[in-house]
């Protein structure tokens, strides 16, 4: 059963190949069947493989063939299954399948229907390669593959130049991180002689002492890649613009799966981070800062999808925070619940946006609670889970675990915990701001068009998962079901906080987090539903407006990068246009142009001229033969 592993990425790849080669010549029903079906088969196989794996949770490696063989460097096309990659695989295939099903209806009137499913299938194949690869080179192939698909799908509606710009921005900004990651791979290969992940990790422990320079360099460089891909400080600026793509793309790539690849990479190579404590601390601090900054930005967006984009950045910040304090399984747990509720939020937002005729501005919406009941309930459940309201939803359990383990992390712990707590308050405020503005109050735009079953099923299934998906890991004071962390123990080390689990301080911290979430909802209710006069006055004051603008534009990061990087680069390239080398090659070009003109002058079309040319040539040749 486990040997089916290699077929899981193969089916979406096959689907991509068929759709790519036929280029839309197939009937639409076939395109749907191939596009959705390939991912469906993949999800089914993933389920079978995971059942087989859970029977005997031993890591399993399936080498298909040797990719490259250069003396001792022989990376394989090989797949590695353990609790971590298995869980990622299962979540990715299932969420992908649901989103593909949703897309079959959502994109049904789009002229690029075939292209869309081809790209989406390629994305799923690449993402599965990323998480299942048994060596870092193969992982890097998947890593770049998802980056390519992200680029293609952000710019999917390529006729609008703004979408193409957003796609290029995403590609270039993540490329900054990817370059760091590639250098990190070189560091690992030259110093440890292999890129196969498991031997590499064993070698690292043997050869590198804790805190020495090489593991710090390697971990920091890999972290660079993770920051780019997961849109963390300081490379977060591409994700809000990535919302230019179709909404199911935002749900799948820019919320549920690809942007969490950085989290997976760090968890996969956690041994390196254990050997490099300063880098691990940096991961936690970056996560904490990102979740705060993105939270404030989300609070001031007016575009529904951009709110969710900043929310994604913020939630991945939580995952980085967890990774930084060594709570590996908590990070992966939050990845799982986040995949459920964020995909749900995006998909229900997609319904709202599409039914209102591509309207993104939340202040032109309103009162949609009765008009779009399915979207309302889905969005509400997603928001509850995102805001981590206590007990009833998945988000509570994962975020609670992260906050508790952040608190337990030495001297820095309480600071990280406070950042997480403020972030939780912001999360509750910004998402319920969206809920109250979009679904309550006076009716704005009127929705039109029907919602079919292929949109409804993913919403219902994801709603259920966003509610119950967290019950696989229930803290000790509530019944103690540590199923998730027990599963993860086989792949990831247990964090130190687990030793003291069940203490009364954990219960107290949970209660505080729960109260903060409820408080956030209350603040959102008062600010955006009641709208008391003193708050309106406060919001309209000049200082407040300036601050809002500052937050809305992502703390000026885009402005800063534009001034500090883009413009100097353009300036240098402009003044460098006429340098010596350019002159040389330009001279060659103009020389051949002059010669061409002269030669074409000689071609008069007159027979006698040609005859004269032939005669002169013959005379010269014979003269050479006779006299030389």
């Amino acid at each position: 059963m486990l040997s089916l592993l290699a077929f899981i990425p193969a089916f979406p790849l096959l689907g991509f190949a068929i759709l790519f080669v036929t280029a839309g010549l197939l009937p639409k029903r076939w395109i749907t069947t191939i596009g959705v079906g390939s991912v469906g088969i993949s999800a089914f196989l993933a389920l079978i493989v995971m059942f087989a794996f859970l029977g005997a949770p031993q890591p399993y490696t399936k080498v298909v063939w040797t990719w490259i063989a250069v003396s001792s460097f022989t990376p394989h096309i090989g797949f590695y299954l353990d609790a971590l990659s298995g869980l990622m695989m299962l979540v990715i295939t299932f969420v992908s399948f649901l989103i593909h099903l949703y897309s079959a209806e959502f994109m049904s009137t789009d002229e690029g229907y075939n292209r869309y499913f081809a790209y989406m299938n390629l994305f799923v194949a690449s993402m599965l390669v990323l998480v299942l690869a048994d060596n870092l080179l193969f992982l890097y192939l998947g890593w770049e593959g998802v980056g390519l698909c992200s680029y293609l799908l952000i710019g999917f509606w390529y006729r609008d130049p703004a979408n193409g710009l957003a796609a290029r921005k995403a590609f270039i900004v993540t490329r900054v991180g990817d370059t760091a990651m590639a250098i990190g791979l070189f560091v690992l290969l030259t110093n440890l002689g292999t890129l196969d992940i498991q031997p590499l990790m064993q070698q690292a422990v043997v050869h590198w002492p804790v805190g020495s320079a090489l593991p710090i360099a390697a971990a920091a460089l890999l972290l660079g890649g993770a920051l780019g891909k997961s849109a963390q400080l300081p490379l977060q600026t591409w994700l809000p613009d990535a919302m230019a793509g179709p909404t199911p793309v935002s749900a799948l790539i820019h919320a549920a799966t690809m942007v969490t690849a950085g989290v997976y990479l760090i968890a996969r190579t956690h041994v390196l981070y254990d050997l490099a404590p300063p880098v691990q601390t940096a991961v936690a601090v970056i996560g904490a800062l990102t979740l705060l900054l993105a939270g404030f930005s989300a609070l001031n967006q007016t575009d529904l999808k951009r709110i969710l984009a900043y929310s994604t950045i913020s939630q991945i910040g939580y995952m980085f925070l967890a990774l930084g304090v060594g709570a590996w399984s908590a990070a992966i747990f939050h990845f799982m619940t986040h995949a459920f509720f964020k995909a749900l939020l995006f998909l229900s937002a997609g319904v709202v946006v599409q039914r209102l005729g591509e309207e993104h501005d939340i202040f032109r919406m309103g009162g949609l609670r009765e008009r779009l009941p399915l979207a309302f309930w889905s969005f509400l459940i997603g928001s509850i889970s995102l805001a981590a309201l206590p007990l009833i939803d998945a988000g509570f359990y994962s975020k609670d675990l992260i906050l508790w383990e952040a608190w337990s992390d030495g001297a820095l712990g309480p600071w990280l915990w406070s950042a997480g707590l403020i972030g939780a308050l912001l999360t509750a405020i910004y998402i319920f701001r969206a809920v109250f503005v979009v679904f309550f109050g006076p009716v704005g735009l009127e929705p039109s068009g029907p919602t079919g079953w292929r949109v409804a099923i993913p919403l219902v299934v994801l709603s259920a998962l966003a509610l119950v998906g967290g019950f696989v890991e229930i803290p000790p004071y509530l019944g103690n079901v540590p199923a998730f962390s027990r599963l993860m123990q086989s792949a990831l080390p247990t964090p130190p906080a687990m030793a003291t689990a069940g203490s009364s301080s954990e219960l107290m911290l949970s209660a505080i987090a729960a109260l903060v979430a409820i408080l956030g909802v209350g603040i959102a209710y008062i600010s955006f539903r009641r709208r008391p006069a003193f708050l309106e006055a406060l919001v309209q004051s000049p200082a407040s407006l300036a601050l809002q603008h500052f937050w809305e534009t992502d703390w000026g990061f885009d402005w800063l990068y534009d001034r500090a990087l883009v413009r100097p680069f353009l300036w240098i390239s402009r003044i460098d246009q006429g340098d010596v080398i350019d002159r040389f090659y330009g001279g060659l070009a103009s020389l051949s142009r002059v010669a061409y003109r002269q030669l074409s002058e000689s071609e008069t079309g007159r027979v006698r001229r040609y005859a004269a040319g032939i005669t002169a040539g013959s005379v010269v040749l014979i003269a050479i033969l006779v006299f030389a």
């Binding site: 008069t604 079309g605 007159r606 027979v607 004269a612």
Partner: protein, 102 residues
């Protein structure tokens, strides 16, 4: 019958060849150009004959007969082309046919 020196025959062939070349290059009338080409061919033929007689070999005469056949074929094709050109352009001026300039 006095013996003709090879040098004399070759000199005559050279003069004929030069005259033919000058005719091709200088005259614009297609018919005259064709005739000039014939003169060049005959000059070459004369050189072969002279050489054949000098060394007492039959090869020179064989080559001359080949040149005669070649010239006949060339005239057939050349005249047909000239006829077509005349129908097309209404003139026998070679410089009028310069549509193929670069």
């Amino acid at each position: 019958m006095s013996v003709v020196l090879m040098q004399h025959a070759l000199f005559l062939a050279m003069v004929l060849f030069a005259l033919g070349t000058i005719g091709v290059l200088m005259r614009r009338n297609l018919i005259v150009m064709l005739m000039s080409v014939e003169i060049m061919l005959n000059a070459a033929g004369l050189a072969f004959i002279a050489a054949g007689s000098r060394w007492g070999q039959a090869d020179g005469q064989v080559m001359f007969i080949l040149i005669l056949a070649l010239a006949a074929a060339e005239v057939a094709v050349g005249l047909a082309l000239i006829l077509r050109l005349y129908q097309r352009l209404g003139t026998l001026d070679a410089d009028a046919a310069d549509k193929m300039r670069g």
